[in-house]
Amino acid sequence: MIRIADLRHRLLDIPGLAVDARHIAVIGPNGSGKTTLLSVCSGIEEPEAGSVLLLDRPPSAVKVGWVGEFPDRTLLFSRVYDEIASTPRFRHRPCPETDRAVRAVAEVVGIRHLLGKKVAALSGGEKALVALAAACAGDPEVLVLDEADSHLDGVTAERVQRVVRESAAAHVLWCTQSMDVAATADCVLFMENGRVRHHGTPEEVFSALEETCFYPTLWRVSR
């Protein structure tokens, strides 16, 4: 369960919201506050006023895996292996356990062949996959993806979706500009000017957006 109460932070203004869905898609125009909401929900930023609770705890007490839009900004180490290993290493996990976790998650994300490579030699999409692997290496309770699919082709984006679907995280908060992806979520939040304008099932939210370009393209051709 994600509970937001009287939240005011930068442009965000969310009086109250309780979402009890696993896969939550956050959509809306550029500059509507999606990234800010995700930052507050993952504990990267403390809200100026109000509160956010994930699984009845403040975000700082929850294991959150974060995948940003620009992996260049979050990748810390020069080798792919070290980047993914950083999550268990920062938690002082023993070396054999760390190694097992890195290899297991690399297998799941499909990037085993990249483990020995330098991060600088990767393409933008490969970096996004490494960032996803690093986020998943810590067995996150909540997985947060901030337009992680903006720079991915269809095949890679589908791989990210599969990994996210199969992860053990209790909640996935996924901000995306792909409405076809958002249409597969359990719950959709449509944001505008810092507010949650619509929330509910994809059916409910997109029926309110049928006149806009936010309506899923696949629904337009298949209904």
Partner: protein, 232 residues
């Protein structure tokens, strides 16, 4: 006016790019998975990378402009107006086209990614080069901004435009489709004939094709029109 790739070969570490073909006047879409070599091909076409073998031959192309995937890599000025001026443009025109007139004196880094993208795209279009290369012009934009960008592109009525993109929802009207797969450039040909053989076609187009529709171009509106024609 055309750009010819003659048995182009370019290698970097374990990656090798190969390509042959001719880019005539009009809008070309180069699609393909991440890491397939789209950005490398853009740099080769722009003359910023030198091929190992073969050649990029420009015929009648006097000016070339490459729009980088990450718009902040273009920034050279502390103000938005200054940034537009650095492209050799009248700032008012560029800012009006980018719908940023009120932000002339702001720092370009205070713009959102989408706004910055709009600014660089407007500048590149106003330069009106013979060869315009756009590397992922739609990534990070919301659908409203993508549509606006497509309309700006479609208004360009001369020269060669090459759009390198993996976009799957909002696309411009194009004249030809190319695909990159593991470093190899393949020409699918002119639209609409190229559409059925387009491997990376967006889901809505694939869905329309599966229902027996034959869209005249690649936009969502083209797919819907084609469906209306067969459904009556």
């Amino acid at each position: 006016m055309r750009v010819e790739l003659a048995d182009l070969v370019f290698s970097q570490d374990s990656f090798t790019l190969r390509g042959s073909g001719t880019f005539d006047e009009g809008v070309h879409l180069v699609s393909g998975p991440v890491g397939s070599g789209k950005s490398t091909l853009a740099l080769l076409l722009a003359g910023l990378l030198r091929p190992e073998r073969g050649a990029v031959r420009r015929h009648g192309v006097l000016t070339t402009q490459l729009l980088l995937q990450f718009p902040e890599h273009h920034i050279t000025s502390p103000t938005i107006a200054g940034e537009a001026a650095s492209w050799g443009l009248v700032p008012e025109d560029a800012l009006a086209l980018a719908e940023l007139s009120a932000r002339a004196d702001d720092d370009p880094f205070h713009l959102s990614r989408g706004e910055l993208k709009r600014l660089t795209l407007a500048c590149a279009l106003l330069r009106d080069p013979d060869l315009l290369l756009l590397d992922e012009p739609f990534s990070s934009l919301d659908c409203t901004a993508k549509r606006r960008a497509c309309r700006m592109l479609e208004k360009r009525d001369a020269g060669i435009t090459v759009v390198f993109s993996h976009e799957r929802a909002v696309l411009p009207r194009v004249d030809a489709i190319w695909e990159m797969e593991e470093g190899v450039l393949a020409a699918r040909g002119s639209v609409p004939d190229a559409i059925p053989s387009w491997q990376h076609a967006p889901p809505y187009l694939r869905c329309a094709l599966e229902q027996g529709a034959r869209p005249m171009n690649i936009r969502l509106s083209d797919a819907r029109e084609a469906l209306c024609r067969i459904r009556g």
